[in-house]
């Protein structure tokens, strides 16, 4: 009963001062839109980086003249190392073909024998696809008999890790700033609404309404504005995505949990903002 009444009051207030509601909803949706746009960019950048990192592998070049028996034993040794998920053998012949495909035949034609060594391409398990993981696996392969040289993307993996970390941190930071700004703006907008209705609040208090009873309509109003604002933001974001994505190719929209989180965030912020501004008007 009280909730129905409060909801009716909230709608009454929205109808009575539609401009304020519009301002609230507009501000929430703009803030969340900016946040959402940034999230989309970070999300895609992160996905791209993770994709690159998933291709991180180690290549162990073998000494020339290794007999098959030794090579197979070496392959088994490497395959059982912790952090190794797959191993693939590239024979001298395959190396030559691969080289020819990438750089053309002309260079190889200059030499009689095949100068390219055979190698193992070692793939890492997911948790080891970091600078540290790759290094530790590489260091274990290096001393094994028959291994001539191990190469892996030492520097750039580390830089990639840093980049991912920075991107995540910046996302969190922007999220925080947007949250604070939204709460601030909503609480100020609600303050205007409350000010416009201070007489009604005074009368409510006078006839014996509890603080909670006075607050509830505003809570519902703020929460509704937050919900509408965030839905609007998601809609706009999707619209922008549809408009821009074809030109960029392969860009993904935010995953469902992130969209949901955005909507929940807006709704909660709306509620919090509305309650913050009420305190001073309840001291009657």
């Amino acid at each position: 009963m009280k909730v129905f009444y409060a909801a009716a009051e909230a709608f009454r207030s929205i109808r009575r001062v539609p401009l304020m509601s519009t301002v609230s909803v507009g501000t929430i949706s703009l803030s969340l839109l900016v946040f959402g746009l940034f999230l989309t960019v970070t999300y895609n950048a992160r996905e791209a980086l993770l994709d690159v990192r998933s291709r991180v592998d180690i290549e162990a070049f073998l000494m020339d003249g290794l007999v098959d028996e030794d090579r197979l034993r070496l392959q088994a040794d490497i395959a059982t190392l912790p952090g190794v998920s797959a191993i693939r053998y590239i024979s001298k012949e395959q190396a030559r073909t691969r080289f020819a495909e990438e750089f053309g035949d002309s260079l190889l034609a200059l030499v009689d024998t095949n100068p390219l060594p055979a190698s193992f391409v070692v793939q890492l398990t997911e948790d080891q696809r970091t600078a540290q993981g790759a290094e530790s696996v590489a260091l274990r392969i290096e001393p094994l008999a028959g291994v001539d040289e191990v190469i892996w993307g030492r520097g750039w993996i580390a830089r990639l890790d840093e980049l991912i970390l920075v991107l995540s941190a910046v996302s969190v930071l922007i999220g925080l700033v947007v949250s604070l700004a939204s709460v601030f703006v909503i609480s100020n907008t609600v303050k205007l609404t409350v000010w416009a209705r201070r007489d009604a609040i005074g009368i409510m208090k006078l006839v014996g309404a509890s603080d909670r009873y006075v607050k509830l309509p505003f809570l519902i109003e703020g929460t509704l504005q937050g919900l509408v604002g965030s839905l609007l933001a998601v809609g706009l974001l999707y619209g922008i995505y549809l408009y821009v994505a074809p030109g960029l190719g392969g860009v993904a929209f935010l995953p469902a949990p992130a969209v949901l989180a955005l909507v929940v965030m807006g709704t909660v912020l709306g509620g919090i903002g509305s309650q913050m501004s009420l305190k001073q008007f309840l001291e009657v």
Partner: protein
């Protein structure tokens, strides 16, 4: 136990002393007129009774609620036992007469049926049953104050506090309100009415106390 007990109450706002050593006791069913010039402290005394203000010194006890022990969340409970009336009616402009009256019951969580029943009864009591759907802007001053009175009475208060209830009304409308007060009082509700209009309460069967400069004078007995 007496309905209202005020003991050695002083109230100051900063350096401004509004009330000084005020003592007053109201019994259930009493009708007391509080006279005094504007600014003599009548409104402040009213505020102390419905506990919008706390005394700087002394103690106020209303229907068992004490200013020195009442909790913030108990104040609404006290106010539901009181009816308050102001000079400026304090009606919500965008609600009809019936909605304004019902408002006071809605906050108590009464059922819609109960609200309808009691709203109708309260409006009938003040003689405005036929104007239940009129908005305050469509009513005369006297009618608006009667709507406010219906709102104050709809919860069956033990005490009606009226702060200059006729201040914005002409003589005739004001007399109408006072007449209603007498009826309400005969039904058992205690009334404390603050007014500076002595002509209005001439011949009224009520106790009279006079306030001047924040000090309450001795009770003046009602004239026959």
């Amino acid at each position: 136990m007496s309905l209202v007990q005020i003991y050695h109450v002083a109230k100051s706002y900063g350096a401004v002393e509004v009330l000084r050593d005020v003592n007053l006791v109201l019994e259930r069913g009493d009708f007391v007129c509080l006279t005094g010039a504007t600014g003599s402290g009548k409104s402040t005394l009213m505020k102390l009774i419905y506990m919008e203000e706390q005394p700087s010194e002394g103690l106020v006890i209303v229907d068992g609620y004490r200013t020195d022990t009442i909790r913030h969340r108990e104040i609404p409970l006290l106010r539901r036992r009181l009816g308050v009336l102001f000079q400026d009616f304090k009606l919500l402009r965008e609600r009809t007469a019936a909605e304004n009256v019902a408002f006071a019951l809605q906050v108590t969580g009464a059922s819609p049926r109960e609200i309808r029943k009691r709203t109708t009864r309260a409006l009938a009591l003040v003689g405005l049953g036929h104007k239940r759907n009129a908005y305050p802007g469509e009513l005369s001053g006297g009618e608006q104050q009667r709507v406010a009175l219906a709102r104050a009475l709809v919860g069956d208060p033990v005490l009606l506090l009226a702060d200059e209830p006729t201040g914005n009304l002409d003589q005739e409308a004001g007399a109408g309100i006072v007449e209603l007060f007498q009826r309400v009082n005969r039904m058992g509700t205690a009334i404390l009415m603050a007014t500076h209009n002595l002509g209005l309460i001439e011949g009224l069967a009520a106790h009279r106390v006079h306030m001047a400069g924040g000090v309450l004078g001795p009770p003046v007995e009602a004239r026959p």
